[in-house]
Symmetry: C2
Subunit: 419 residues, 2 copies
């Protein structure tokens, strides 16, 4: 048995024990994990310095920033684990009780998924976040972190495992393969009978690789080509502030907007204001101006780069916004159906009927009326946390909190019924 | 564009139209489909005679039986469609309403999955059942039936498509590839961006092929190695009748029992009665006797074949029952954890605590106390129908009714909120 097979076998064997823990046992373990993480700050920072030094040789400064830890970031990780303690236990909830004419009593009860594999990239805080969410929801987790953050993540995992053992629990509730090759990710993707759900967290390439290769059930997360449609009846100030927020408050995240669709009736008035707000005002204020990529009708009204063939199908994750003029809300809906990744879209309009038409017809995880797409987030939705944002429709859609890390079973009580 | 690509493209294009239909429009279409199916009985029977004639050359009589239609079977198919009319529409249901401190109103609403592909084998009634369930739940369906039933199924699909067109709806709500090669199934499994969910219905080989090859989200269905555990405190008459029912009432289905575990304290009393009931009484009554495959401890008490290495990991789907003696309920739970396909298991006991321990610890879609595993079925659970029984934990578990053919989206209403 090689190291990966042993890890899988131990994870599977641990799952029934974790599934049977009480809420109190899980919460005590989480509190102890947070304590040990704080106490292990020096050990984690030492490992992190190794990763950062290696990263500086080959990665850009944004990636190094994402990777670098500080006392404050470790404190935030510990606090993140403690926050999970206060969330309601999603396991053992009764979803439904049916009594059948033959007297059978059927109860639908929430249960953990079992073993969850998470394949992610270089953010070290994903390690502790994911471990805490999986533990609270009764799931064993296998964390397959990226190579660039390996020393950091592995140190965090070892601290969490020691904390579990100190609570008299199995270390195997949380584990991480030492092998960070593509092969180890591929092994997890193919671990039918061992992995109940695979959640990739990272860029489009990682998600695509999981969707293409996974033989275990996989939840597609993340990629967001999000649209804001500014209707003929939009309040222009509201529209400007929503587009600005959705594009510029944090362009690197999946709920940032990439495309603005503007109704033809207001385009000649709205687009110059949009350009002023996103380009000229920002430049004047010393902020990064947004690069506008314009379809021919928008380009006839304001200056900007002509949109290329791919610009309406690209998750820029940057200060870039594609702009197109449309004639009707139906055209906006059709454009979104053809180009969206089904993450988040918004309409800005004062017309309730137009808004209802849009929110009903647009097939995305979150559809907004008069608000920024940036709210698609577990915390902002009130879930208290999130393990990712699903862009598929099976199992879970949108922000995935603790409930989305559970399945259910039917318990059926009888007195000898046969069929 | 080849035929399969055209079919996929048309199905995807039709999905938003079907999703927007009212309950009344869907019900009217279903009633008309049932009417046309009845009127098309002669056309269907003619096609079926072709399939049956070809099947007789190469298939066994059980398979030919499964394939052969009669007026009565077509009437049952039409009635099945009409039954779906009376079920509640699962689309547009509000699951949750949250008002956030910033005033955002978040509503979780059920929506269709989109395009569902169903790969199945030779039962022609699956064609009309699946089409009706998908239509009612707002889903476009692509039905990829088996080669042996192709003429029958294709004729049924064409009747249903004509009925849709006569209602002014798109024929593309229901379609079937003309190509019944493995290649066409493989194309559906790989149709990322076109197929939102793949549901295989059939034997273990088909299910395995889908799990191995599918790149679209797939729901594993069907395979059932179901266990009955007869506890030390079981009422022996109840236990006998449950084991007999679970094994012999319909051995070819997935919720039939394959394994009986008996507590050592009652084995010497219970096993001779089990043998009398399943073997001797049945033989005397001219029924097929059950072949018992015994572990060494059971073989020391009654006569029967010694169990081979694979007998506790085989879905016999036949009059065969593997029998093992265990020392405790924990041993029964451990045996089930190691050998079950997580479909349905039962405990027979008068002890409520033992039952609670078993139902909590056993990780299967349906866990029974004092009832036969044969009740794991959409109809028996009161769902009114079923498209399959999920043995995985993502999305749906156990019998899948209309609700399990939906996803959800979040509609978020604001008045200009930005983050």
């Amino acid at each position: 048995m090689d190291a990966m097979q042993e890890l899988l076998t131990r994870a599977k064997a641990a799952a029934p024990h974790l599934a049977m823990l009480s809420t109190k046992e899980k919460n005590n373990a989480l509190l102890h994990m947070a304590k040990r993480l704080r106490e292990g700050a020096e050990e984690i920072l030492a490992a992190n310095r190794e990763d950062v030094a290696a990263a500086k040789e080959k990665l850009g400064s944004v990636m190094v920033d994402r990777l670098a830890l500080s006392e404050a970031r470790i404190e935030a990780m510990a606090k993140g684990i403690e926050d999970v303690v206060s969330l309601a236990d999603p396991v053992g909830l009764i979803g439904e009780e049916i009594v059948r004419p033959n007297g059978l009593q059927i109860t639908r009860v929430s249960v953990p998924l079992g073993v969850i594999a998470i394949i992610y990239e270089s953010r070290p805080n994903v390690t502790s976040d994911a471990a805490a969410l999986c533990l609270k929801s009764g799931n064993v987790c296998i964390l397959r972190g990226g190579k660039d953050a390996f020393h950091t993540s592995y140190t965090i995992v070892n601290i969490l495992r020691r904390a579990l053992a100190e609570c008299g629990l199995s270390e195997d509730f949380v584990s991480m393969p030492q092998d960070t090759s593509r092969e180890s990710a591929a092994r997890l993707m193919a671990a039918v009978d061992y992995v109940d759900a695979l959640i990739p967290r990272g860029g489009a390439g990682l998600i695509r690789a999981c969707v293409e290769q996974a033989r275990v059930p996989c939840i597609q997360t993340g990629t967001g080509i999000c649209h804001i449609y500014v209707d003929a009846e939009a309040d222009p100030s509201m529209a400007l502030s929503i587009v600005e927020n959705a594009k510029t408050s944090r362009p690197s995240v999946c709920n940032a907007a990439e495309v603005c669709l503007v109704h033809a009736a207001v385009a000649s008035e709205f687009l110059p204001r949009l350009k002023a707000r996103l380009v000229d005002d920002r430049r004047a204020a010393g902020l990064v101006p947004v690069e506008l990529r314009l379809d021919p009708r928008a380009a006839a009204i304001i200056d900007g780069m002509p949109a290329g063939e791919q610009d309406f199908d690209t998750e820029f994750l940057d200060y870039v916004l594609a702009v197109r003029v449309v004639d009707t809300v139906e055209d906006a809906i059709a454009h979104i159906a053809a180009h969206s990744t089904h993450h988040s879209e918004a309409i800005v309009t004062a017309n309730g009927e137009t808004a209802a038409r849009f929110t009903r017809a647009v097939d995305s995880a979150a559809v907004y009326h008069n608000a920024s797409t940036r709210f698609t987030d577990g915390g902002e939705f009130g879930l208290g946390c999130e393990i990712g944002i699903s862009t598929q429709k099976l199992h879970a859609r949108g922000p995935m909190g603790l409930r989305e890390l559970t399945s259910y079973k039917y318990i059926v009580r009888g007195n000898g019924q046969v069929r």
